[in-house]
């Protein structure tokens, strides 16, 4: 292919590209405009309802309008234990601004007693949900611990952090970003 021919091909690509840009616009009724419910950034967080460690239940869909951090953990996982104080500290600082943290214990891989003892040891004040049959863990495709999902006020997953421990700065920056959007 000679130089003039390359320029000619690129000019054709430009013209066709312009047409394709118009034709392939994102339509308001398209799937991209209203993403489904999948545990992935950009999609609506799959709903769940779980019992809490100290009684009562939590339903994710009822928390719309708030920034939610769902942290999957077990008491035997060292990075989960290490990052819990950072999450607790951020929760205390931002809960009045609309942050909700759900510490989601994969109880099927842990035990209720071990979870309760760890929560007491750290002094965790946010709600601890118990996934007794791993159904929520499977729904969220949790393959490594800890895994954290940062969910915005519309219920859309904005960040997924797999592995840890997360630093306080990381948790704080992700939470601040989502809280600022509601201002």
């Amino acid at each position: 292919m000679s130089t003039p021919r390359f320029v000619m091909w690129m000019t054709w690509a430009l013209v066709l590209g312009m047409i394709w840009t118009v034709v392939s616009r994102v339509q308001p009724e398209s799937a991209q405009a209203s993403p489904g419910s999948v545990a992935k950034e950009g999609f609506t967080a799959p709903d769940f309802k779980l019992g809490l460690l100290d009684g009562g239940t939590v339903t994710l869909s009822e928390l719309k309008g708030k920034v939610v951090l769902v942290n999957f953990w077990t008491s035997w996982c060292p990075p989960c234990r290490k990052e819990m104080p950072a999450i607790e500290s951020v929760y205390r600082s931002y809960k009045d601004l609309g942050l909700v943290v759900i510490g989601l214990n994969l109880t099927a891989q842990d035990s209720k007693q071990a979870a309760a003892s760890f929560v007491q040891e750290i002094g965790v004040t946010f709600p601890i949900a118990l996934d007794l049959d791993n159904s929520v863990g499977n729904l969220y495709r949790v393959t490594a611990l800890p895994t954290s999902f940062f969910i915005d006020r519309k219920g859309v997953i904005r960040s997924v952090i797999v592995g840890g421990p997360m630093s306080e700065a990381l948790v704080q920056s992700k939470v601040e970003e989502l809280l600022r959007e509601g201002e």
Binding site: T3, V7, L14, G17, W20, Q32, F43, V162, A169, E176
Partner: protein, 248 residues
């Protein structure tokens, strides 16, 4: 999709590994091309290394700048290995500026240096597609074409596979100098124009595009602009018989 590999207590991020391989092998191609084009291999290596390191540092600083109070109270978090606290745009801009600054100081010939970078960058683009395939990012829109893939609970266009295939074609064209050029810089422009064209067409099949007004996809608009600039530069650089400038 295979985002993580557990190695005992460690969790290896496969997309990150693909990008690392892309940089590593890409650098090998850049070294070979620098020898082929008669440029100092060490200086080209330094240019790329400084650009990469500067890019990483400024991507972290750029992210921290958005949350100044957070990082002032936790300054050691700037050194965190977590890849979720980077601002890629800041890294790209400052990494490029640092590389240009080094080229300027070393009086490297500007266009010839760009040509030397082209095969390495073309290889990196293949591995970027592989990283997208492994992570499931850059996914396609829902479709019922026979070659669709099941991803994120829907049958989707296999945009990551399109991306890898086109990047392979571009890499082959660039590496083998299949499109003849006369003047320095034209090989790089070819790579840039072909990559912009590939992105322009693949983007239309994506299911996660950022949009501007009226549903126009941002990446397509940027690609069109790049294509126009490339056509102008290609004609200009190929047709004008001028002395090749250095970074100065």
């Amino acid at each position: 999709m295979y985002p993580y590999l557990r190695l005992g207590p460690f969790l290896l991020q496969m997309p990150l590994l693909a990008l690392f391989i892309g940089v590593w092998i890409g650098l090998t191609f850049i070294e070979k091309e620098s020898v082929h084009q008669g440029l100092n291999k060490e200086k080209i290596n330094n240019l790329v290394s400084y650009g990469l390191i500067g890019g990483i540092v400024f991507a972290r600083l750029g992210y921290a700048a958005q949350y100044v109070s957070v990082y002032i109270s936790n300054p050691f978090s700037l050194l965190s290995l977590n890849t979720n606290t980077f601002l890629p745009s800041a890294g790209l801009v400052f990494g490029t500026l640092i590389a240009i600054g080094y080229g300027y100081r070393q009086k490297l010939p500007f266009r010839k240096t760009l040509d030397v970078l082209a095969p390495g960058l073309a290889f990196f683009m293949i591995m970027l597609g592989v990283a997208h395939l492994l992570s499931g990012n850059a996914y396609g829109s829902t479709t019922n074409v026979p070659w669709s893939i099941y991803l994120w609970s829907e049958y989707r266009q296999p945009t990551q596979i399109y991306e890898i295939f086109l990047a392979l074609v571009i890499f082959t064209l660039v590496l083998t100098h299949m499109i003849p050029t006369i003047k320095p810089g034209s090989q790089f422009i070819q790579f840039f124009a072909l990559s912009a064209t590939a992105r322009l067409f693949i983007e239309g099949f994506r299911g996660d595009s950022a949009t501007l007004f009226d549903g126009y996809r941002t990446a397509q608009v940027i690609s069109l602009f790049i294509l126009i600039v490339c056509i102008y530069l290609f004609r200009n650089w190929e047709e004008r018989s001028e002395h090749e400038p250095s970074f100065q």
